[in-house]
Every structure is written in C-alpha cells, then in structure tokens.
C-alpha cells in the first residue's frame, strides 16, 4: 500500500512538474510573442526617466502638460466665444543639445486638441502636403479657399534654452522653455508662460 501510495505521489509530482513545464514553456508562444535572446520589455511611458541629464521623455511630458494647462486657462482660450484657430510655429532650440522641438509642439497640440477648446491649422512645415492634397483633389485652386488656410486667430511660438555647469564632481543643467501666444495681425503677445527644469548628476567617488 505504502509503495503504491509512494508511486502515485511520485507520478503526480512528475505530472505536475511536466504540466508546469509545458505551461511555462508554451505560455509565451501561445499569445504570439516573438522574443530574442536579449532582455527587451515594455515599460510605462509615463515613468520618470533619469538615464542621464540630457533632455528626455520626462522633460517633454512635463513641459507639454504644464504649458497646455496654462494655455487652456488663459482667457484667450477659456473665454473665447468659439474655439480659436491656432497655428503652431517653430519653437527655437537655443540649447547645446540636439532637441527635436517639433516633439514638444506636437505633444502640446495633441493635448490641446483633446480638450476641444481650440482648432488647429496645419503647421507651415506641413502646408506643402496640404497644398499637394488640394491640387490632387482640385484642378484649380480658388483664392478664397487659400485664404481659409491663412486665416489664423493666433500663432504659438517659443524657445528652449539651457545653462549647463560642469565640474569634476557634478553636472548641473537648467532648461527654460518659453511659449507665447501671438496675435498675427497686431503682433501682440497675448499669453506667455515658461517651464523650468533643473537636473543634477553627481559623479561617483569610486568606480571602474
């Protein structure tokens, strides 16, 4: 009896192990995952990124969030009779880093559009494609239709600046991102705000 019981226990244990092995082994491919030898995984896009002190995804997200909230709260948008038409112009990069400032304006535009409080006209950079599409659909472009393309209520411009100080022990970088809402007819600056970011990196005392 004891021997039989032992055999059954052993068989159950082996079966359990096999089942676990099969489950763990087949778990991946059954959901269609293709995995290489390296360690690649998905992360949370909103996680704070501090790989180094260079401009990164967290800076982009913080800037876009802060500027969008500020712009939406301004009376030119919040108290507008109807959603104004805005065109995003260039945000100039005056830093010592190759920052894609288009990523900043793109993110702000997405967030502003989601709010439903503004309307956007195509960027000047994208106008060529708009014209190409129009030419494709219309053999002759009418003047009044062209006027609609230029009929902007406001434009948004800005700059990104940075100050970096480095010693053997510490590297400190300060970013100042400034955006302005400008009336293209009067050139009046209706709204402006800034986002400041400071990052410091200390050098380890001992290392390989």
């Amino acid at each position: 009896m004891n021997k039989n019981r032992k055999n059954i226990s052993l068989t159950l244990l082996v079966m359990l192990c096999l089942a676990l092995l099969v489950m763990s082994g087949c778990g991946g491919p059954s959901v269609g995952r293709v995995q290489g030898a390296g360690d690649t995984h998905y992360g949370n896009a909103d996680e704070v990124e501090t790989v180094n002190s260079a401009w990164g995804s967290t800076d982009l997200q913080m800037t876009a969030e802060s500027m969008t909230q500020s712009l939406l709260a301004s009376r030119w948008i919040a108290k507008a009779y109807e959603p104004p038409k805005i065109r995003l112009r260039e945000v100039r990069n005056l830093t010592a880093e190759h920052i894609d400032t288009k990523a900043i304006t793109d993110k702000i535009r997405v967030q502003l559009l989601r709010s439903g409080q503004v309307r956007f006209l195509a960027d000047t950079a994208n106008l060529d494609e708009v014209f190409a599409e129009r030419e494709f659909s219309e053999a002759v472009t009418r003047r009044d239709v062209n006027k609609l393309l230029a009929d902007t209520d406001y434009i948004v411009t800005g700059t990104v600046r940075s100050i970096r100080k480095t010693t053997k022990e510490v590297a400190d970088v300060y970013y100042q991102i400034t955006l302005e809402l400008v009336d293209p007819q009067s050139a009046e600056i209706l709204w402006a705000d800034e986002k400041e970011i400071r990052k410091s990196t200390t050098t380890p005392k001992i290392g390989w």
Partner: protein
C-alpha cells in the same frame, strides 16, 4: 635602494605579471587600428573609399575615441555628411562616458600606473583640448552642409561647454603636477618654461617657437568662434553670435577685422592698441554688429563665406631619446612627438564677374581684373598641437624618466634574484636580458596606441564678404583650382573646400 631590495625580495614575482597583464590587452588591441603609414599611403596614392573601409573595420573591432574621429573626418571628406554626424556622435558618446567616470577610477589609476611604469600607451586617449573643441566644429560643418544651421549652432554651443570640462580636467592635472613638485621639495629643478628640454628631442625647437608661445591656450581657436558667429546668426541666435564673434576677435584681431568689413564695424573698437605701434585695432571692448538676415533678395549683392582646409595635421608618436644619468651613464626615455605634418597650400580666393567662369576662353587671363577676397588663416592646428605638448612636456619627461628607471630596475632585480638562486645562477644574465626584452616588447606594443586625430587639416582659412549676385568664385590651392558659379537667387552661400594633397581638392557648398 630600499625599494629595489623590497622589489627584489618580495614583490617582483607578483608585480611584473600583473603589470604585463594590464598592458597586454593594449598591446594586442592595437593590431586592429589603421596605422599612420597606412593612412598616409591611402591618402596619397589610394582612395578615400578604401581608407573608409579600413577605418570602419577598425572602429567596429576597436571602438575608441580617436578611431571614431578619424573615421568621421574621412567620411566628411567624401561629403557623406549624415554618416559623418553619426560617427562623430559615437565618438562623443565615448568621450562623455569618460567624462562621467568616477573621481577615483580604477581603470584610469591602472592606466596611470602602467603609463608611469611600462609604457605611455597604457593611458586611454580621449583627445586633447583642441581635438575636443574641433570635434564639434567639424561636426557643425556637416550640419552646415546639410543646410541645418540650428543643428550647427547646437554643435557650437556644445563646443564651448566641452571646453569647460577640459578646463576642469586640465586644472585638476595642473594641481596634481604642482603638488608633485611640492613633494619633490626642489621646485627649482623643474623650469616653468620648457627651455631645459633634452638636446636630441626633435620637438625642442618647435616648442620654443614664438608663434606657439603666443597662442592664448591650447584649446581655443578663432576659426571655431568665427564659425559659431556665422551659424548662430543664420540660426536666429544673434546674441550668441555676438558673444562668439567677440571671442574670435580677442583670440585673433584679424577675425574682428574680417567681420567688421563684412558685417559692419560695430561699436567700441579702439583703433590702436595703447602699447603697440602697428595700428592693430583692439577688440577688448567691442560690441560687434550682427546684421539681420535679408529675408528677400533685394540687394544687388549676396553673402559668401568660404572655408578652406589644407594639409594634414601632424601625427603623434613616441620618440626614443638618450639622456645622461648618474651611475648607469644614460637612460633611454620615450617622449611624445609630432611627425609628418603636411603643410598645406595657402589659398587665393578670386571673385569673377557674373558670366566670367570656366566657360571663358582663358580663365587665368581674367585674374588681373579679378577682385580678391582675403583668406585668413584662423585655424592653425599644428600650432595648437605643439602648444598642447609644450604645456604637458614637463609632466611627460617626469613620467618617461620614471618608466625608464622602473624598467632598468626590474631587469636588474630579475638578474639579482636569478643570481642568488643556485639553479638559475648560470643563466642570470640571460634572465635579466629576457625580462628586459619582454618589457620592451610590451612597451613597444602599447606605444603604437599613442595616436591623435591625424585626419585634421594642418590649417583652416576663412574668407567672407558681400559679392555681386551670381558671381563666380575661383579658389586656387597650389596647382589645384576650382570655380564655383554662385546661385544668384540665394541670400548667401557657404563654400567648403578641402585639400589634403594636390589633385585631391573637394568643393562643396550650401545656399540659404
């Protein structure tokens, strides 16, 4: 003597294998590098493509700073701007990793120990001040040629920041050197001026050259700041353009004169220096004029900027010198020296009226009536290299003597240990000789890693001015000549000309 005895009795069997182990990877790693001779041969008789392939293989096999710089430059010489940018960035990543290393870094300490005891080649090479500056300057030219002035301006701002790091590093090194001098207790034996250099040292005269001494420092050049002023203005950053321009003029008044003539005089230029009679203007309190860009082609003239690079920078290697030493007669020391600089040709830039280009029956015949644009030699890489060596030669001599003494002492100790043992007594001389030969082998192996950015030009010239629209520009460099018909509708044109050897002149330009 007590140290020698200690080494002899206890440490030698442990120290020597360790040091050999540390330096061997350097010795064998170098085999994948493209040698200076190979570079020179390919440049003179081969093709840039072959050289690129060799360098790409070396870069992939042995990822290091100087290989990346040379590869980036050879790509640039072929007009492969985007690829060149990528390799400059790869070099920069290596440099930044080095700059971020721990304050007490074991790798560096071992390298330092190896450089003092075995060979100078044990030290990792991360460029000198001027090379780190020019990394950004030359990368900025890639962006310029792609018409991306904003990207070029970023590189010029990075150039200035890089100098800050270099200054901190140099300050640290100088402080260490001063402390060493203090600990020696006889500062008088170390002259502040390298006048007491060994007589056989081939660099001795060059390091004392008045032109080398006259440089403000070893890492700033007026060309980089002039380029910074040009590209920052084009990128719409007039404030930074003004700051750069002031720095260029302070480093070389000729740069100030050139910009004053092209962009307007600005304010605060003292027409004559108080202590000089040569009539040179002083730019100490200068507020330069940064003209706004002409958005419309209204004027009869257009801007033209010509950058000309000629020749080849000297290559760094180690030179064996025999210096007198008490008791043993002499010591063989190895000091860094620069060899094989290819002096480039001085350019002439002529301006021909529209329609007077190569189609004219005899282009040379119109030379008499042509207007000349002055080409200013604002980048003197040879001088910057010599100045760097001049600043560091005292430290180099100290390390070289320490290396020589250690090598001699180790061979001597091995001989003494062998003699004291009955089994090896008969071969003591052979053992001593063998140890000495092994150390020499390792030293010579690692010595080949003493390299610099060899593909830099020897000199860079800048020429600029307003010219009648659609003019023809004729640039002559020795026997080579190029004519460029400037596109008349453009606001301005930036021309880049490179000539390393005769018959290999490359002309590129970008209109804006």
């Amino acid at each position: 003597m007590a140290i020698l005895k200690n080494i002899r009795q206890h440490s030698l069997p442990h120290i020597l294998p360790l040091l050999l182990l540390l330096t061997l990877p350097g010795a064998f790693g170098c085999s994948s590098r493209v040698s200076t001779e190979d570079i020179r041969t390919e440049l003179a008789y081969g093709s840039y493509e072959t050289l690129t392939e060799k360098m790409q293989a070396a870069h992939e096999a042995h990822e290091e700073f100087v290989t990346a710089l040379n590869l980036a430059r050879v790509l640039q010489l072929q007009g492969r701007w985007q690829e060149s940018i990528e390799i400059y960035e790869a070099g920069l990543t290596l440099l930044e990793e080095y700059e971020r290393r721990a304050i007490i870094n074991m790798r560096e300490l071992l390298g330092e120990a190896g450089s003092i005891l075995i060979s100078r080649g044990s030290l990792g090479y991360y460029g000198t001040g001027y090379e780190r500056t020019l990394l950004h300057t030359f990368n900025a030219m890639n962006y310029v040629m792609l018409g991306d002035f904003s990207g070029a301006a970023v590189e010029m701002r990075r150039m200035e920041q890089r100098q800050e790091v270099w200054l901190a590093e140099e300050e640290y090194r100088l402080r260490e050197y001063a402390e060493k001098r203090q600990s020696i207790g006889n500062p008088a034996s170390y002259d502040d001026e390298p006048e007491s250099l060994p007589g056989q040292y081939s660099m001795a005269e060059l390091l004392r050259d008045p032109q080398v001494r006259a440089l403000a420092n070893s890492y700033q050049d007026p060309f980089s700041y002039s380029l910074s002023a040009i590209v920052c203005r084009l990128a719409g950053d007039e404030e930074y353009a003004g700051v750069s321009l002031r720095r260029a003029a302070l480093l070389d008044p000729a740069a100030g004169d050139m910009f004053s003539a092209a962009w307007g005089p600005g304010k605060g230029v003292a027409r004559q220096r108080a202590n000089q009679t040569q009539g040179l203007p002083s730019y100490d309190n200068w507020t330069p004029n940064i003209p706004r860009r002409a958005k419309k082609a209204s004027a009869a003239t257009q801007e033209v900027t010509v950058m000309i690079f000629s020749g080849l920078a000297p290559a760094l290697n180690l030179e064996q010198i025999r210096i007198p030493a008490p008791y043993i007669g002499y010591l063989m020391i190895d000091l860094p020296s620069y060899i094989g600089s290819v002096r480039g040709n001085a350019p002439t830039v002529e301006l021909l009226a529209p329609g007077k280009s190569a189609s004219a029956a005899s282009p040379r015949s119109s030379a008499a009536s042509a207007k000349h644009l002055a080409a200013h030699p604002l980048l003197r890489i040879e001088l910057l290299a010599y100045r760097t060596l001049r600043d560091e030669v005292r430290y180099e001599i100290g390390s070289a003597i320490a290396r020589a003494i250690f090598r001699a002492a180790t061979a001597g100790a091995a001989y003494a240990v062998a003699r004291s043992n009955d089994d090896t007594q008969a071969f003591a001389g052979l053992i001593g000789l063998g140890v000495s030969a092994i150390m020499d082998l390792v030293a010579s192996g690692t010595s080949s890693s003493v390299r610099n950015w060899e593909l830099l030009p020897a000199a860079g010239f800048l020429s600029m001015g307003a010219v009648p629209r659609g003019s023809c520009l004729r640039v002559t460099l020795g026997a080579d000549e190029a004519e460029i018909d400037l596109p008349g509708e453009a606001e301005g044109i930036i021309v880049m000309i490179s000539q390393i050897t005769t018959s290999k002149m490359r002309v590129d330009y970008v209109a804006y």
